[in-house]
Symmetry: C2
Amino acid sequence: MHVLILGGDGYLGWPTAMYFSKRGYDVTVVDNYLRRNNCTAIDVGMLYPVPTLQARAKLWYEKTGREIKVVIGDLTDAELMRSLFDGRVTYSWAVNDEFTGVPETVIHYAEQPSAPFSLIDYKTANLTVSNNLLVTNNLMFALKDLSPDTHVVHIGTMGEYGTPNIDIEEGWIDIEHKGRQDRFLFPRQAGSLYHTTKVMDTDLIWFCVRMWGLRVTNLMQGPVYGLETHETEGDERLYPIFNYDEVFGTIVNRFITQAVVGYPLTVYGRGGQTRGYLNINDTLQCVGKSVETPAKAGEFRIFNQIMETFTALELAEFTQRVGANLGYDVQIDHLDNPRKEAEEHYYNPTYQGLIDIGVEPHYLTDEVMAGMFRVVERYRGNIRKDVIFRGVKW
Amino acid sequence: MHVLILGGDGYLGWPTAMYFSKRGYDVTVVDNYLRRNNCTAIDVGMLYPVPTLQARAKLWYEKTGREIKVVIGDLTDAELMRSLFDGRVTYSWAVNDEFTGVPETVIHYAEQPSAPFSLIDYKTANLTVSNNLLVTNNLMFALKDLSPDTHVVHIGTMGEYGTPNIDIEEGWIDIEHKGRQDRFLFPRQAGSLYHTTKVMDTDLIWFCVRMWGLRVTNLMQGPVYGLETHETEGDERLYPIFNYDEVFGTIVNRFITQAVVGYPLTVYGRGGQTRGYLNINDTLQCVGKSVETPAKAGEFRIFNQIMETFTALELAEFTQRVGANLGYDVQIDHLDNPRKEAEEHYYNPTYQGLIDIGVEPHYLTDEVMAGMFRVVERYRGNIRKDVIFRGVKW
C-alpha cells in the first residue's frame, strides 16, 4: 500500500511519514519547504535545528532500512501534482528511483497552517489563499483524471466551525425549515483567514466528491501539542519541526517554552476561548485509523479530531501548576486581545466518530506536560525571547 | 461620487459603466480582457465584434462628453488593486490622467463567470479558482488597509445555493438545533466549480466584513438575458459582449441565437432544471439601487437578484412560440445531460429585498423576446453553428 503525504516536512507531515513507514507502507513525501521559508522570512526560529527532508529520509533509511521517497516541489504547480499519479515524478531523494505506483492513499497537509501568518499583511494573506486553494484544487483534479479511487485524508480544522451558539456536530447537520428538510455541511464561520481557507477547502472538496464520486475523509483537527512521537525513539534528528513563537507555535507548545525561559504566559484577554486539543501521537493514530477504514466512493466523511477541551486560561494555569512542580515560577499575563474573537462563548462539539473507528484517546496529564518540559529544557539556550510575541492583529 | 467597476469589459461590466456615467457618477473601469482571451483560447466567437474597452470609452466620451477612465491590468496582482485606492494607478485611457480619488463604491464583476469553462480541464479549473479568489482577496485587503468605508457591490450567484429541498432565503438562515439557536449564512452547495468559487467568495467576504466592519452587498444573481440597455441608444458599438455558445452564453441568449440559425434548442435531459432569471436592464437597476442605499459598516447584505423562475424546457417552449410568430420553425432537442444535476427538483427562492429598496421588476414577455430576435437576426451571418454545443461534461 502506497501512502503519499503532501506537506511531508511540516510539524505533522514528517511524523506521519515515519508512522506509516514503520508499519510497512510505501511512503512518498512532497514539500516545498514553505513552512521553513516562511519562518525564515519573518525571522522566527525553531526550538532546535531540523535536518532537511532529504537528510531525514536518509537518516530514517540508515536506522530502519525503510525508504521514504522525497519530492521537493511546489504543489500549486498542477503538473507536479499530476506527476505523482502518472509516474512522471522525479525524486529528490530515494533509494530506488522507480515510481512506486499510484498511491492508494493521499494525506493532504500541504497548506499554510498559521492563522497569524495569514494575517500579517496582504501579501501573506494572498500567499495563504493561493497556496491552500490551488493545492487542494490540483489534488482534486489529479484524482478525477488519474485516480478517482484513491482515498484522501485531508486535514481540516475545528476552527472552521468557529464558536457557534449551537452544538457542533461532526461536519453535517439536518436542517428543518418551513416544514421541509435537507442535510447540509454544518455551518462554518472561522476566526482567521487561514481557517477561512479551510472552510473554502471544504466547499471545494465537497463539490468534487459530489460530482465525481471521490473518497475523502476530512479530519477537523484542534490545536496539536507534543514533541516526540513513538517513531522518533529518542533520536532528536527525527523530531518534528517545533515552533514556539506566536505565529507558528501552537498554544501548549508555546506556553511550555515560555515557562522554561520565564516569559509570562500570553493569555489573550480574559482567556475564556475554549478549543479542543490533542496530542501529536493521537493525530497519528487518527490518521492511521482513517487510512485503515477509508471513506467510500462518493463519501465526504468528516470527523472532529480532538480529545478534550480547555480554555486558554485553563491551559495557562495547567502550565503554571506543572511548571511549579518542576521548580519554575510561571507568571500569567492577560494581554489586550490582538484578535477579534469571543473571549467567553458557548462551545459544545461532538467528537465520537474517530473513537468509533478505533482511536484510543490520550489526554494532557501533568506527566505528559512534564515530559514536554523536560525536552524543551534541553534546548533552553536556543529560545529567543524576542520571537515569542509579535502582536499580529486582526 | 466615484464608482470603480472591476471587470468593466464583460457582459455586465460595460453596461454598468455607461449606466453610472450617464447618471453623473465618476466612473473607472478595470479589466484584463480575461473573458475575451478565454473566448479566443477555446475558439468561440461572439455575435458581433466588440471594440476594446479603451475604444468604447472614447466612443462614449465623443457621444456624451462623459469620461469613463480605463485601466487595463490583472487584479490578481495586489499592487494593481491597491493602486486604485492609493492613487498610484496608471490609466490606459482617460481624458484627464489625474486620479479621481478613492472610490466610494466598488462594483466587483472581475471573475471568470462560466461554469462550463471552469470545468473544461484542470487548467481552466485552476485559472478559475486562482482568478476569482485572488481578486476578491486583494479587494478585501485593499479596503481594510486603504478604504474600509467604501461600499462593495459584489456579484454573487443564485447558483451558490444549488437546489436544496428547503425554501431558499436571502443569504441567511436562523437554525434551531437541540434547543439552542444561531444565525448563519444560508447553506450553499453549488453545481459547478465556477459556482463553488462564488461560495468560497462568500465565505471570504463574510470573514472580512465580520473582522473589519467592511460594507458589502452581495447580489445573488440568476442568469441574465438581453442585448441592448437603455444607454446604448441603438449604437451597436456600445452593445455588451454577447456570447451564444454553450460555454459563455446564458440560456435565453443561446436559445434565441439557435432559433435564428435553425439549430435545435439544446435542452439538457428532461429540462426540469428551474432557475431564476432577469433582464440585463434589471441587473443595472438592482446594482443602481444597491449603490444608492449602501450596506452599513459591518453589514454583509445579501439579496437574491432574480425576477421570475422558469424551467429550461419552459424557456425552450417560450423561444419556440415567439420564434413561430416570427416565422421560425424551432425544434427542441433533449440531449443527454452532460452535467451532474437534478433534472426535476424543489425550487422555492425568496426574492423580495431588492423590490423593498425600490427595484421595479421587468419580465420576459413575448415582446421582449421578439425584440431580442430582431437584434440577433441582424448578425445572423456571424453565427458559427460549430461553437453552439461543445458538450463540456462534469
